[in-house]
Structures are given as C-alpha cells and as structure tokens.
Subunit: 336 residues, 2 copies
C-alpha cells in the first residue's frame, strides 16, 4: 500500500510543473501563481498526496518536534502537565513526541536516545526518578527543561518546579492549625521531590514544637506504597491524627489503609496529599492536597523550550511555581 504512495514528483508530473513549485505551493508560499497553485493542489488532492515527514525533516534539518519524557501515564498528574505542554507546543506549530521510562533508567536512556535520534529540537523531562546524567547528556544536544526536579542542574538545563520544602511545611502547618499534633509522614522514596517534602514536614514539626511526634515511613509515590506505609504508621503509633503523604496517589492508598485500620477519615484521621491530581477530587472522599499548578507548569516548561529554540543564546532559567493548600474532604479538626 504505502509502497506506491505518491510523492512530490507524482504531483509535479500530474500538475505539469516542477517539483520545487509543488514544494512551495504545498507549504502555501505566495510566490506561486494562482493558476499553478490550483493545479498543484488539485493534483495533490486527486493523488491523495501526503508529504513525507521524514524527508521533510531531513531536508529541512529541523524536526519541528519537542520530545517529552514522562515517568509514566498512570499517574494522571503527568497527563495534566502534558496538557499544558501540548497547548504551547501546538500553538508554535510543533508536535510533541511522548515517551515513558517508568523510572527505569535503562529504559529512560533508550527512550531519550530515540528522541534525540529523531532530532527533537527541545526536550521536556517530567520524571521524579530521572537519572541526572541522562539529562546532562541530552542537554548537550538540545535545550532541556526539567519539570518538578530542581536538583538536576547543569549546562543547558532549565527547571520548572514548585517549592516542595515550603509545600511540605505548609501541609503540616495547616494540620497544626486544625489542632493536630501527632502528625506522621509517608515519604515518597529516593528522589528529591520526596526528600524536599519530607524536609518541609520535619522543619514544620520542629518549629511547631512537635519534634517528638515526628514519625516517617517510606512509600514510593504509588498507591500501593502509600497504603502499606500508612498501615505501618498507624500500627506503630495508633495515636496519630494527621497524615502528610508525599503525593496524591499514595495518599489515596493511605485512605484505604486508614479504613482497613478502622480509622474514619477525616473524623479520626486527617490525610493530606501533594500534587492536585484532578482525579483525587472524586470518589467518595475528595482528597485534601497541596496543589501544584500542573497545567501551568507544563505551559511554562514548553515556553522555556521555545524561548531557547528561538534564541539559542537565551539564558537558562529556574522557575518556581507556588503550591497551594486545597482543603477538601480528608481533613478536619483534630478529634477530641
């Protein structure tokens, strides 16, 4: 089928013009007479002509494509960031090429290589388990913007992040202001975002004079991880009334754990997540969270990429967005 796909030559022959003229006409140049243009477009239409993107990007030496590496597609949070990215990318007449690495740095390496083979003109990396070396490597070939990880820096790497330490603090502060004092934390594993949020938790606990109640169990940013970690916390200290969980996904898991432990949420136990995942606003209990402006972060990242594509000398930037307390159904004043 595609073995006989019409090429620009076929169109030229049929329209009785040269292929250069077809090329111009197809791309809407005004240096083509109306008569020729019409003949060409008609011929193209009749033939079902469709420009070959590979040939074009080869001749053009630009792919008009932005590569996006996402941790995975299951956490809807990434989809929200991606929406923002795509909005901007499309508005620039570019396309996005999406890959996922699932936090496996082998796979991330391979996927990034594929994007670079494809000559993407810019790269947006959204993966909390990204290998810094990979990012730096990639940054030697095209502008790179990392979202949600401010700890990876280097030549050619811009970042767009929330202040996770601050967000971690605020989560605790809000619970404290609701009267909670025995506040534990489910962390998010070995990555900087999680580390920052945990640090915020610890700092705020200390400042509130609650150091003795600091209690942390490691999760991994997944539902299952959150569930297990939360269960352990409730076992270690049944007196807990507040739970700050490293992200919304694991916070949903924590809600399950709470119910399994016969703790009713939020009357017995308040739970706070992070991210502002839209799906977490649903279900029988809507999750209280420290929300990040996800779409905005995506837009910002894409804009940074284009700024650097358009003016290669543009400075690297490190943008910070603000997270905000979004009280919903999983928090309430401390019992008693």
């Amino acid at each position: 089928m595609s073995s006989t796909r019409p090429t620009i030559n076929d169109v030229a022959a049929r329209a009785g013009v040269s292929k250069s003229l077809v090329s111009l006409a197809i791309r809407g140049s005004d240096r083509v007479s109306d008569e020729s243009r019409e003949a060409i477009l008609r011929a193209a239409d009749e033939l079902g002509y469709r420009p070959n993107a590979a040939a074009r990007s080869l001749a053009d030496r630009r792919s008009r494509t932005i590569g996006v590496l996402l941790h995975d597609l299951h956490n809807p949070v990434f989809a929200q960031v991606l929406d923002g990215v795509q909005e901007i990318v499309r508005s620039h007449g570019y396309r996005t090429m999406l890959v996922t690495g699932h936090g496996d740095s082998q796979r991330e390496r391979a996927e990034l290589a594929a994007l670079l083979d494809f000559q993407v003109e810019g790269l947006i990396l959204i993966s909390h388990r990204l290998d810094p070396a990979l990012a730096r490597q990639a940054a030697r070939e095209c502008p790179v913007v990392i979202v949600m990880r401010h700890d990876i820096t280097g030549r050619g790497i811009s970042t767009v992040c929330a202040d996770d330490v601050r967000a971690g603090r605020e989560a605790v502060e809000q619970l404290v202001s609701l009267g909670h004092s025995r506040i534990a934390h489910v962390s998010g594993g070995e990555n900087r975002v999680a580390a920052d949020r945990e640090q915020g938790y610890r700092e705020a606990m200390a400042e509130a004079g609650l150091s003795e109640h600091v209690l942390v169990e490691a999760g991994d940013f997944t539902e299952a991880g959150g569930r297990v970690a939360a269960a352990r916390l409730l076992e270690r200290d049944p007196g807990i009334t507040g739970l700050v969980v490293a992200n919304d996904l694991s916070a949903l898991g924590a809600v399950v754990a709470a119910q399994e432990a016969d703790r009713s949420v939020p009357s017995d136990l308040s739970i706070v997540g992070f991210d502002g995942m839209s799906l977490a606003a649903l279900g029988s209990l809507t999750l209280t969270t420290m929300a990040q402006p996800l779409e905005e972060m995506g837009r910002e990242a894409a804009e940074r990429v284009f700024r650097r594509i358009d003016s290669p000398g543009a400075r690297i930037t490190h943008d910070q967005v603000v997270s905000s307390w979004l009280p919903r159904g999983t928090t309430a004043p401390a019992p008693g």
Copy 2:
C-alpha cells in the same frame, strides 16, 4: 549545537573506512571485521555520533513506528491499554508514536494526518468518539486496529473489543442477584460503547421482569457527567437501590452524587461501573466494576497490527475479549 552534529561520513572519515561500512557496523552486522568494527564504534563514540532517524527511515522506507491515537490521557483506562500496546511494540523493535484527539474530530483528523505523514506502519485507534470516516481513510494507507469500538468496520480495519451488551447485562444480573430491582442507568453519551452497555442494561432489566423500573439518564463518560446524571436519577426516583454507570470514571462521579444526596454506598445504594480502571480500586471506596482486560486488549491490538505488517495479505480480524464481574466496595445486597 545540532548544527554540527556528526554524521555517518564523519565517523567513516575518522575510522578510515567507507560510510557503508559504518552503516553496517552501527547496525551490528556481522559482515564487518572485528578490527573495522572496533575502529568504527570508537570513532562514533568519540564523535558522539547518533544516527539520524529521519534519514534512516527515508532511506529504509520504513519508520518502524506504530501510531496510537488515544482519546485522552486523563482516563487512566487508556494508559492501561497503552501499556499492553507498548509491550508488544517494543518487543518487535518498533516505537510507538502517541497522539490524543480529545474526541474533537478536527483534532483527531490533524493528529492522524501527522502520524501518516510520518509513515507509521500501523495504526491503533483507541477513542470512543472516533469519527469512522477518519478510520476508513487511514486504513487505506496502513493497517488499522480499532480498540473498544466494534461498530467501525471497513476495508483494512480490525477490531478488538469487549462484548459490551453482554457486560451491560451482567452488571444488571449481578445486582439482581444481590436482591436489587430498582436499578437505574447512567449512560455514556453518543457512542457505540455506551449504547451497547445501555442496551445490555435494558435487555437484562426486561428479562428480569423489571421493565417498569428502567430509568436512564445520559452521562458522557466523564466524572462530572456521571455525577450530574446520577444526581438527577436519585431525584427522579429516590427509591433506586442500584446504579449501573456506563464507565468507571463516571461511576466515581456517581459515588460523589450519592453521598451528596445522603445515600450511603453500598448500604443504601449499590454502584457498578465498567472498564476496570486501576485507580478505581483505590480511594475510600473501591469501585465494583465490569472489568475489561485492558492490557490484554492493548497487546492483542498490537499483535494484530504486526501480523498484518508482516504478512500484508493477513485477514482482517474482529476479536472479542470478555469482561468480568469484579465485586468490590460499592455493591452490597439490596437494603431491607
């Protein structure tokens, strides 16, 4: 930066061999002497050589890419199907190119065109609002497999679907066997999947002698839509004890509506969704659902594509997978 990216010629020059040999060596042919191979790989490495995918796919006349059109990325159900697809695609040494149309047929058209411009060798379409004309058009250029929509057929179009009518029936039957009789339905809007599930609901209600209790309100497969529709149903008939909702996402919305109406789930009201969305297994109430084998459907679809790529004469297939009742936390025996 990429203005001076090394090419195969640079590698050849540096290694002191011809570019054809470099081409062979890079692709791991065994028709290259160890000595040459080593020199070539070293040169490539020193130069930071990276093959140009566009050039390769142009010369090769194959992109080694499968295009995937997804309705959108926010419904995690699609991510699950995609996982299955990618597993197979990767195992064939191909890549997937992912686009989303958000049910907007303008955009779907544009995205499909882009995939075809890129010479994808096969297409997997997963969108309940897909325009049949687009699919048929695309099928003229490469093998097309449609997932979850058996109503779009045509030359070159294979399908992989569940039996949604049957699933709809079973949802009702299960509720009936739990003692429910006043069972209402939130439908999923103007698409075949939704229509089939609704038909199953109606058939099963009739067979159970419950025709008088048939009550349907239109949703649209979104959380918000499910919430509104469910709210209306509960208002129209407060005696409802069972709710069959067209998909998991809207069923989550229905759970919220139930609570807003002061109906407790599942003791006052049982709710069933469709799909088997993994996230719906979380939260404070895990959703009972008619689950489709999502990953398997993805794998199946990808395998069908490759079968047709490998042997262009292969027959079009229409596979049907079976949905299964997955009782979880939102269903219980009818009250009283």
